[in-house]
């Protein structure tokens, strides 16, 4: 059985940030990712990030991704792709399916940075081909260079819905409308303004009630909803189109943590059941850490900082950093997080994260 000091499950922004931070401090790091390319969702993010320079502001997601990969390589971080971590067992032992063989690996510290999966809403006709996750649209257009469809409807006005709608316009698709059952746009104003400038109409307090078509979606019907979120008869509008993108939120991928019986907390503002963790991102199971969307849905920039904090905490607990240096470096990351967890969107996440940290203390 192979042994190493730290394993990150996931080579997305959180996993790579943790891996590089830990490796920089001397930790021997191995990263597994089930995909055949690293970076998680970073390489699909072709828009510029916000925040200040330390948050990679004005950089596009894929450039941040390349930066991490270069750094990881320089630091000797081993990134094993097409490697599915099938389970984590007692004593931090895991089984990994690497292409067609299974390997057993044991680590002193494990970071679960598995990201999130998309939420879906069912409606009559929702299984028709052409109804896809917003993430799928992003992958198809930004990674593989084809249009998911010619004319689409975006369901959901959060940042994913807004950003992907804009990216579909950049890819040359038509966007019929962006709808949301909530009365107000969920994402940042900047993102909404970019799509609005293209003349894309927004229908707030509207939901999708039906998808029509024989073998492929040909139309979508939307209806206004009342205060109890119920469709109001007579308010239907029908769009002729070939694609519907669903962007109604994400939920943390916590299967590996569930397997370990990590303490979980229901926190709606972070996307559902999230693992309790302390200020160093360690869960209720000693030696098991979380960072990024798997520890509560936030953003790539917060995932990077959480990853760095986890990397520092792991390096510290393995004895590579002394107490004062650790606290000083971690404090720097906390300060960097302040700006990202504030304002109309970030404040709720800040409170939720404080709640989770409090749950850990008991």
């Amino acid at each position: 059985m192979r042994r190493c000091e730290m394993i990150s499950v996931g080579a997305g922004p959180a996993g790579l940030a943790a891996a590089t931070e830990a490796a920089r401090n001397g930790v021997e790091v191995l990263v597994f990712d089930e995909n055949d390319r690293p970076g998680g969702q970073l390489f699909k993010q072709i828009h510029k990030f916000f925040g200040s320079e330390e948050h990679h502001a004005k950089e596009r997601g894929f450039d941040i991704g390349y930066g991490f990969l270069e750094e990881a390589e320089k630091l000797g971080v081993e990134v094993s792709l097409s490697s599915v971590v099938m389970g984590i067992y007692e004593n931090r032992t895991m089984n990994v399916l690497i292409r067609d063989r299974i390997e057993q690996v044991r680590a002193e510290k494990i970071l679960v940075a598995t990201g999130a999966s998309e939420n879906m809403i069912p409606f009559p006709g929702w299984t028709l081909p052409g109804i896809i996750g917003a993430g799928a649209a992003q992958t198809i257009a930004n990674i593989h260079g084809i249009k998911p469809g010619e004319n689409l409807l975006m369901v959901g006005s959060g940042n994913v819905g807004l950003v992907v709608a804009y990216q579909m316009l950049q890819a040359g698709c038509q966007v019929s409308a962006i709808i949301d059952a909530a009365p107000r746009i969920g994402g940042y104003e900047v993102h909404a303004a970019k799509v609005a400038r293209y003349g894309v109409p927004f229908f707030m307090s509207h939901t999708i009630t039906e998808a029509g078509g024989e073998k492929w979606i040909e139309s979508a019907t939307i209806s206004q909803v009342d205060k109890e979120w119920k469709p109001i008869p007579g308010t239907e509008k029908k769009f002729e189109l070939d694609t519907v993108c669903i962007a109604v939120g994400l939920n943390p991928m916590t299967q590996l943590l569930d397997m370990l019986s990590c303490k979980m907390v229901p926190v709606p503002s972070l996307g559902g059941r999230v693992p309790a963790h302390d200020l160093g991102q360690e869960t209720s199971i000693p030696g098991i850490y979380v960072a990024g969307d798997s520890s509560g849905i936030e953003e790539a920039s917060t995932a990077i900082i959480e990853g760095r904090i986890a990397g520092l905490a792991i390096a510290h607990s393995l004895g590579y950093i002394d107490d004062s240096s650790f606290l000083e470096q971690r404090d720097r990351q906390f300060k960097s997080m302040v700006g990202l967890r504030s304002g109309s969107h970030g404040e709720a996440r800040k409170i939720a994260k404080e709640y989770i940290n409090a749950v850990m203390k008991g």
Partner: protein, 105 residues
């Protein structure tokens, strides 16, 4: 369908152009790109029909998670075409239900 000149990304790096077969029809795609992408660029939208209700299914998550896009590839059923790379001469078939029975070699 293919994006030739993207405002941010420019052109997309692709493998060699190769031919493959989909349900007895000759098609072209780029080696190494997901089978689903090659099919989509040839206008194929339906990947399979469900076992009980015979309903059509296509790409849904595009990252190998949902398994909605599974097809029969070179005789093997249940292949996730959104993550399976296209190879020269691949024979791809629409999957019906669980697909054909595979005899172990």
């Amino acid at each position: 369908m293919r994006i030739d000149d993207h405002p941010i990304l420019g052109t997309f790096e692709k493998g060699q152009k190769v031919s493959f077969v989909f349900d007895d029809k000759a098609m072209e795609g780029f080696e190494g790109e997901p089978i689903a992408v090659a099919l989509r660029s040839n206008g194929v939208k339906i990947h399979r029909y469900t076992m009980r209700r015979n309903q059509p299914r296509g790409i849904f998550c595009a990252i190998g998670r949902c398994t909605d896009c599974i097809m029969v590839v070179d005789g093997t059923p249940n292949v996730r075409t959104c993550v399976e790379p296209l190879q020269k001469g691949s024979v791809i078939q629409t999957q019906v239900g669980a697909g054909p029975e595979v005899t172990r070699k």
